[in-house]
Amino acid sequence: MRLIYERSRPGRRAGTLPRPDLPAPDLPAELRRSRPPRLPEVSEPELVRHFTELTTRNFGVDTGFYPLGSCTMKYNPRVNERLALLPGFRDLHPLQEEEAAQGALELMWRLQEALREICGLDAVSLQPAAGSQGEITGLMLMRAYFADRGEGERRRRIVVPDTAHGTNPASVTMAGYELVEVSTDPRGNIDLDELRGKVDETTAGLMLTNPSTLGLFDEGIEEIERIFHGAGALMYYDGANLNAVCGIVRPGDMGFDIVHVNLHKTFGQPHGGGGPGGGPIVVREALAPYLPVPAVVRREDGFGLDYDRPKSIGRVRGFQGPFGVLVRSYAFIRSYGPRLRQMAEAAVLNANYLLALLKDDYELPYARLCMHELVLSARHLKRERGVGALDVAKRLMDYGFHPPTIYFPLVVPEALMIEPTETETKETLDAFVAAMRAIAREARESPELLKEAPHTRPVSRLDEAKAVKQLVVRYQFEEHPAPAEVA
């Protein structure tokens, strides 16, 4: 398709700005431009057609099944958009005085209460804007907690399993801690014998996703809790996979002390385009004094912001957090009410349905029922036909599906990580299974078809290394001078 600059014709307009009713200021000559900025000049129908056509080049959860593992690409209810757009929320200035922002503050306080209950913990900060920021905030809380106890110098190590999301070790390093990796055992749990040898009085804590990125609930979680708390260390829960257990089991009851919740994943916030996200952290009482300021609190005369927290680690984000995300998430949670458990149960059922139907066509590295996502391997196809997970993923696009997460977790070669979420119908899941089976058949009969896929998309197989190294992120004005400049 043509770029907007290629549609541009000098003098064409899509609209006119309102005429100001104040006199135009007299700008000094040296501050004026010598010629207008080079903006695309198109008519309104051209403008609408251009951007509408662009939207058709995107694949989103509104256009098709999007089983991107660990990303929880569920349908985002439209009614929540309407609520986030209520003028009282939409037009509120973040510096509005507390007395004139009572509705917003009450919503945040009520969301905090819901997250406390969901996590089984005591105190919340809604500030972190994403899971990764929740992680670094959680580690800063650990540091503040141990420093306050005089153990800051000694406790410098954080244990992370080899199945962890990449953000976990990155956060550990950013927070100035030393990373200790622990292996996964043949059943897909943390190797407890290895773990016992790696936790001692120098350990600050654990970062764990449960269920893990293998889609498996760690069966040793009670022993893990004894090991860490027995050593005086803390436990951090990466809430990326909360969709599997929400309303069924609470991280606080598993022994976790700090949790981040990915509001954008679990509670129906549109995501996948780079934001906005939400990564509140929920902590046990002993860590509450260190939470970011200001805290959203309920007082006798209403709701307010409390800055009087002398042990706080300080602010981690401007204002009180990603407010639109908070509105949608609160609405999402309230729409389920006490039935929130059904959301997780349906997500787990859908994933196990796919597992049961696909385990004979692809390898299942851990022969167990899964939680909200399943990890398959294409290593048999790689070995026998030279076709890998990447080729399967690209071919799925020809069948109209977004590819699953591939080559992750790292412990599974040729991994295909599939998360259907609770919002898909049986018919959609069946169509996905049919496509995956057809692709497995194609891999055996005509592997070239997969290696050259996708065949039906606007662009074919990309040179991904070149795409990363030679970024073209703006129009090449130098190569395409404006007509006036040519003249």
Binding site: P20, D21, L22, L95, E97, E99, A100
Partner: protein
Amino acid sequence: MRVGRDGREVIRAARARGVHPGYSLGRDYPGLDDCLLVALTERRTVADIERLVETLREVAG
């Protein structure tokens, strides 16, 4: 601008008349309790500005 009395009270009184006149600098700067920070964007008309002036005349000290 100095409004002759506590900025928060001026904002409260103006808001009761349907106008949000600005930001009370006393929230950040002790000693500037009688000051408002007022910003106008290109979206405000002359009529809007006149309404703001009229409201502040009524509620300022």
